[in-house]
Symmetry: D2
Subunit: 309 residues, 4 copies
């Protein structure tokens, strides 16, 4: 099965976890969703992250879902599994199960409380020791974790731990940080680091221009992410940004913290990808007014895309 | 001098405080900036907020700046003065000085620590008692204050305190909250409440559609804010949103927390409004790469605006 | 099996989860620990809370541990199970499993994000609906959850939901809040509410004097908690406080956030209650200097207790 | 006038700012308070900190108060002035004014937002450059500032900036950190660093045993702080801790965040040191129940001290 590495690039779509209206895992929708993502041209997939509602699933549900996705993907692209957990034992167990089932790597965000860089370094050393050789994507997301990480700490982590091969960059504001990490990796004694950007892709065009290798986010129109990255890689910087800007009103709408998950599931439902937009409780839900607004925004997007072509 | 009231609408631009390259107050640029804002058609102005770097000014500087602005505006539009302070005495003194000098009202954000609604209610009662009859804009900005305020608490504040006439709405995600505050004010026993939206205008089109009276933010192209609000008020909802979307890449760029102030001052400098983009220390500054990126974004904005016309 | 109710009182000791040096569940130590707690005279027990390292246990481990404890207790005192979880489904499942196994109730802390009282009320309504008739202890611990709860909200919760019968009070500073909740419950239309206090018992004497029904915390000398509460209930207010003050240096030492768990397990180990002071990773550990300090503090405590008698 | 340096030791009492019942500066009480502090044997004084309600004073009030205190102290002990401010200009101006008036140094806490150690280092370099040669006490108080500082960062700051001569240590839990800073300073290439501990002195005995040079806090019985430090320095480690433990119930009572200021002022009032316990709004106040509780605690303290002698 394909693994992530320091040259991974493209779009690693963050997959939703489809439920039925009553909240059960919906495996039929899961298959359709996996097929849909692959048809849009994503180069990887990330499951069981926050957007995947992993913390709201029972342990066996999570494993069942993971195996189902991995079977359906069948090695066509690497699949990253979110394994962040309060305890190292649980984390290592899920990592091992995942790699055995064919995952391409795991994603780890620092636990709240790793609040000095000394503590973070010590924590990540424990994490790496607990899952030797498993390729790791380090998630830098201080808005959620409360853990602030400097550029030098990121460099130190990837130098000290060869298995930390990828950065999910979603600090904000973070454009200068991205430029610095890119400039300081892949040169001299510091190995290359794959940088995929998150934060709902709100700055994807700028991030590609600053050297990102692609995106890792759950935008409900993954074809935009794929095309922006591929146009950029083909040298069409303006074309990439034109397309991005056309989708920006929707990107901005989905980026609403918490609520964004309900919006994404509803867009995927409207697009015929999943059967239900159900989010497990406690979770966000859309008001009738939100539904009208989303209808308007989707129609405006269609209109704008036609103008562009 | 004109006062804010429950029917205030339009655009209250949040004014920067212009400094020279060495960090002194730049009164010539202040005059140009005031004139520029008024020429774009703003219906009000807000000074000495966070964007105005008020906490970095000496007490007498703040008063000098305020008087200078009020003189230049000369009653053409109401001017709101940010008076949030750790102590009530300082707050009341600045409010009194401001109203004497011709301000149209003051803006108050809850102090950190007013963390239950009981505490917030008690605090706002003290604030109102300390500045009787001064019209107040209540700033609901939990991302910065840490104080979460429910719809019912907002309603209660404006019912209990007739002088609380305006809400600066910048909770996020906050669209449903805006709809609810609009629905529950101006009906029956609850008086109307002027609602101006902030949060860098990232959702201005949606907010107008949900009943906002306008915007209060510091976007460096105030003419966009003015036109979006006036088109909307004239019934051209689509035209308002088309224009907004054209500016959205720049709105999103300026919305970067902290860094946005440096970007706004640089845009105002490039547009010839102020002489220096100086931000007082400690403060954000733009890298050479940021400057290039801004150049690109400004050029793209010009191009897009030409396409629209 | 005995259930918690609105008149529950005494000491509900928060139980550690004993591990072997290699981190496995230590059932022999668990038995000894349960026996020890019961011999000190506790009137209840709370398991799988934060101090119980529940988030670091696998799902089946938690259930095994819970069943083992409930068997050993064998109905002699009510056992409360901490069921706070990110998702309602997981919470309801654990609550049902627990009650089936003989638990006396569950403890629920609000999830982060329930940051207005409207959101909290809605959340607790969902929680109650998901576990009908299960007696609930509501944990008010804003230092950890980030959720601030006013006195009126607490009253509203216990009035609206008859199953919310107990408050674990650990807001800080919180003495006035405790007085207010006591004054406003058990009178007129508001039913009585059992109030047990936490926050490591740092103010236990004062809290009893203000009307608390007892303590719920994990102090490694539960006999102190038991005697302070029983002396107080017997009218010996001074004697209760004298004894409390003798232990205060140790109470204060154990109250260190995070580190306190390592200290408590080490004290229990030294007292012969559990075999290993192992805390699962990532977790606090004691330095050699800490061990010396603890030795000194334990010796000083012995000396002081002798003086008192 | 005496300056703080790397060998400063003893007790730097954090002074309250006495107000009249109507909230005006009370200079007569200020004189009595200064005399009282000096009579207890403090070796230094710190004014205009958070406990001094500096953020609630007008700029000229703060300067008047500072000059008054410095005159009254008249060079008998060094006086540290809290100068933390949002802007460097204001900070540097207050530092210069203070040193001109005879202060012995200034205290600086990092501004919120200096959230990586790279940012903090850059900020402190700016601070030092803005007030060359002014002796600085660096306040490490993450519970309030939100800025986490590692041991290595503290070492780096005092090595890079010879003017950073003192650490106010109030991280919590922080005993191991204190041991590490002590072990790593005053040896080899790292100069000695004066370490005074804060956090309301809750661990003063332990901190002295781990190598602190003394205390900087505002406990309303400064004679305890003085005697604990001096007994410890004289080698009477047990006697120091016995005395400390006698006061611990009161130390713990005053340590209540926010409320502690009202308690301290009330104790000082009852002891005849200041005329009014007035705290400026918005601020904590004591309920009648709190007053009774304080009366009880003060009486118990007297009784316990008699037992000790």
């Amino acid at each position: 099965m394909p693994l992530i590495d320091r040259n991974s690039q493209g779009v690693y779509i963050i997959a939703a976890t489809p439920f039925t209206d009553t909240g059960a895992l919906d495996m039929a929708s899961t298959d359709k969703m996996v097929d849909f993502y692959l048809e849009t041209g994503v180069t990887g997939m990330t499951i069981l992250g926050i957007m995947g509602e992993a913390p709201k699933m029972a342990g066996d549900e999570a494993v069942n879902f993971e195996r189902h996705v991995l079977n359906r993907v069948d090695g066509r692209v690497p699949v990253i599994v979110g394994v962040s957990a309060a305890g190292l034992d649980n984390m290592a167990r899920l990592a091992a199960t995942s790699m055995d089932a064919g995952a391409g790597g795991v994603m780890v965000a620092p636990q709240p409380g790793m609040v000095t860089e000394a503590k973070l370094n010590s924590y990540m050393a424990q994490v790496c020791a607990a899952m030797p050789e498993v390729p790791i994507c380090f998630q830098d997301y201080p808005q959620t974790t409360g853990v602030q990480v400097s550029v030098d700490t990121i460099i130190g982590l990837t130098v000290d731990h060869p298995q930390i091969v990828m950065l999910k960059h979603e600090d904000w504001p973070g454009l200068t940080k991205l430029s610095q990490v890119r400039a300081k990796t892949g040169t001299g004694d510091v190995p290359r680091l794959s940088i995929l950007t998150g934060n709902s892709a709100l700055f994807l065009a700028q991030e590609m221009q600053r050297g990102a290798d692609g995106a890792m986010t759950g935008f409900a129109y993954p074809e935009m992410l794929v095309q922006v990255v591929s146009r950029h890689q083909a040298g069409d910087v303006d074309g990439a940004e034109d397309l991005f800007d056309a989708y920006l009103p929707m990107v901005r709408y989905e980026q609403q913290l918490g609520l964004g998950l309900a919006i994404r599931k509803e867009v995927l439902r409207r697009r015929g990808v999943i059967s239900s937009a159900k989010v497990r409780a406690p979770g966000p839900s859309l008001t009738p007014r939100d539904h009208e607004e989303l209808t308007r925004l989707m129609a405006r997007l269609d209109k704008r895309l036609k103008e562009l072509n």
